[in-house]
């Protein structure tokens, strides 16, 4: 193939923003060699086209098909290194994004891929777990549990079979970094799962991927085939199989025990714990269930050492965090930075403030179960401990910004209706509590509720927090009660007088 080599992202969001239209328009041209890469994550600039130059890659942003002559002539491109949204980040897990072709094993290795696996193979299972312990990595799916502890439990458990399961049911609205990893750097996830399998002695792995991510599913399956063909899907001399299994639209299946039920083909209903999955998980066998991002963080730790990872971030939150900016900010996109910057700094430095004409009203961090922050609360450092102290969660790192046109009562009703729909029904506080809470919010909207109903809503929320079986019911009241706390007038002004 000849022609000028142009790099264009193949990520779902880039395509939805117009990259696919560009690819269609230019595919037949002999003067263009299109390379479909992962996305840089600077989605506000998409569709973005890049080409090589002596100063590194140059980028053209918000490109239309008619811009091609300009790009071929080299007019107007800006060096990637001068885009502050990207240059201010600390990319480790997302280092290859926008650079490589997702399914090129060669490119993956050229970027340092498989170095972690090689190191893992040279040591014992306990040496791997020790490295993870040194790294002080905590799970990235939301629970923030020390990863090495889980692995240690599963490694010491006696069983005929053990499993490694990647939780790719990225259901929190406002999050998309797992999707990006699966579509953009699938070998990193596979390598992380394999290292885990070696550490605990597992022979099979599953990736439970939500059905809303068809491109991720296809990309993973292709990557697993390629890794198998290249001969590195083995653990302890035995073949390690990985299967991608599709979810079926249930949010609660992102909860690890519900996910395991669903993997077994049953209703995705939460299991009571203990036993924890590391002791008794899939088909009653020791199982490590971790989020995609957690597994994708592992290869670098084994390649560069646990101490390297522990040196990043804050005391209790080591390493980097992948934040996903969405909503009414000027620059939505993926940000990887060490823990410790404040929420305000992230919104200012990366989000560049609000979209044109919009004024900030509230920020929700951590998906539909995350607490709401007002402007006055944005100086909170982004780390697990500060968020826990504030009764908030980092969750999976989703940040959605709402503007002053947002009706907080309607948002609260929407969030509670979501939980009522998605509750698995196993425990009463969540199944009945979310329904009653939604009814109260409905009644407020209709102007039929009283002050007593507001008290009941608060009481109901406290009961759900204290007694629900899993995080769905336990966290559901937080956004609603934080909305009520910060924007009481929007609720009280609609009570029956």
């Amino acid at each position: 193939m000849s022609g000028v080599r142009l790099y264009l992202s193949n990520d779902t969001s880039s395509c939805a923003a117009g990259a696919e239209r560009l690819a269609e328009a230019w595919r037949q041209r002999s003067d263009v060699e299109l390379v479909r890469t992962s996305s840089r994550g600077a989605f506000y600039l998409e569709p973005m086209v890049e080409r090589d130059s002596p100063e590194g890659r140059l980028a053209w942003c918000h490109v239309t098909a008619e811009d091609l002559p300009k790009i071929l002539a080299g007019d107007g491109g800006i060096p990637i290194s001068t885009i502050p949204f990207l240059s201010k980040q600390t990319r480790h897990t997302f280092v290859s994004f926008g650079v490589t072709e997702p399914l090129s094993l060669e490119a993956y290795q050229a970027q340092g891929g498989l170095a972690g696996l090689r190191n893992a193979r040279q040591g014992s299972p306990s040496a791997i777990i020790q490295e993870i312990k040194t790294s002080r990595l905590r799970g990235r799916g939301g629970a923030a549990f020390p990863v090495w502890k889980k692995w240690d439990v599963a490694a010491t458990a006696q069983a005929d079979r053990k499993y490694v399961v990647a939780n790719a049911d990225e259901g929190d609205a406002g999050t998309y970094c797992d999707r990006m990893i699966m579509e953009g750097d699938p070998f990193r996830l596979i390598e992380g799962m394999l290292i885990c399998a070696m550490a605990i002695g597992a022979g099979a792995g599953y990736i439970y991927c939500r059905q809303e991510y068809p491109a991720a599913t296809a990309c993973l399956r292709a990557a697993i085939r390629a890794a198998g063909k290249a001969g590195w899907l083995e653990s302890d001399g035995q073949p390690f199989t990985i299967e991608v299994v599709s979810g079926a639209g249930s949010y609660v299946c992102g909860e690890e025990t519900a996910l395991l039920e669903s993997l077994e083909g049953k209703r995705g209903v939460v299991r009571a714990r203990p036993p924890h999955p590391a002791q008794s998980g899939l088909y009653g066998r020791p199982t490590i269930v971790s989020n995609v991002l957690t597994f994708a963080t592992i290869p670098n730790i084994l390649a560069r050492g646990g101490a390297w990872h522990a040196s990043l971030g804050t005391e209790g939150s080591c390493g980097t965090i992948a934040l996903q900016l969405g909503g009414r900010v000027k620059q939505p996109g993926l940000i990887e930075i060490p823990f410790g910057l404040t929420l305000r700094e992230v919104l200012d430095q990366f989000g560049q403030g609000m979209a044109d004409g919009a004024r900030l009203k509230a920020v929700q961090v951590g998906g539909p179960l995350g607490s709401l922050f007002t402007d006055a609360q944005l100086d909170i450092p982004i780390c697990f401990d500060a968020f826990a102290q504030a009764d908030a969660i980092l969750g999976h790192g989703g940040i959605v910004v709402f503007d002053d046109q947002t009706d907080m009562l309607e948002l609260s009703r929407h969030l509670m209706a979501f939980v009522a729909d998605e509750s698995c029904g196993k425990c009463v506080p969540c199944r009945i509590g979310s329904l009653r809470a939604r009814e109260i919010l409905d009644a407020i909207q209709r102007g039929q509720a009283t002050e007593a109903d507001l008290s009941l809503l608060t009481e109901l929320g406290d009961t759900m927090k204290a007694t629900s079986l899993c995080g769905l019911g336990g966290r559901a009241p937080y956004p609603v009660l934080s909305a009520l706390e910060h924007f009481p007038v929007e609720f009280r002004s609609r009570l029956r007088s």
Binding site: G41, D172, A173, E212, A248, G249, Y251, E264, G326, V400
Partner: protein, 164 residues
Amino acid sequence: MLGSMRYAVKTPLPNGLDELLTHARPAEGAPPNILRVLHAIHDVCGYIDPRFIPAIAQSQGVTEADVAGVLSYYPSLNTQPSGRHRIQVCLGESCLANRCDRVVAAIQSQLGIELGQTTSDSRFTLEPVACVGNCAVSPSVRIDGELHGRVRPSDVAGFLDRYR
């Protein structure tokens, strides 16, 4: 025994499903997997006719109640055929913040149906979806396999025209 009689006599299986269910039978000693079979049928038919339940139960060695329970649990398993084109409007928080309600209203008024309904000519089914992970270029609308980002209400008529 009862299951196999029903399977033979009453269950109306379209071509190919017999084979699919035989193929989906768990191996000796292996556990059943109801969701996997339901996915496979859904992929072929686009929905799961509840009349298939006895045959599915039989192929997996589980009760009909087990199958019905799984079928009714998962939101994306349809029990009725949908329209020729499936429109999914994302109602995730980033889409909400970016006024997806206006996009929904535009589609509804264009098609004359509500969320969850199919047009009378069976051309379009309009469904809500909780989040498609396209938050950075929201609001999002997926029509069949094609995902559209930064959708404005004024884009809707043009989109729909392409599927007529």
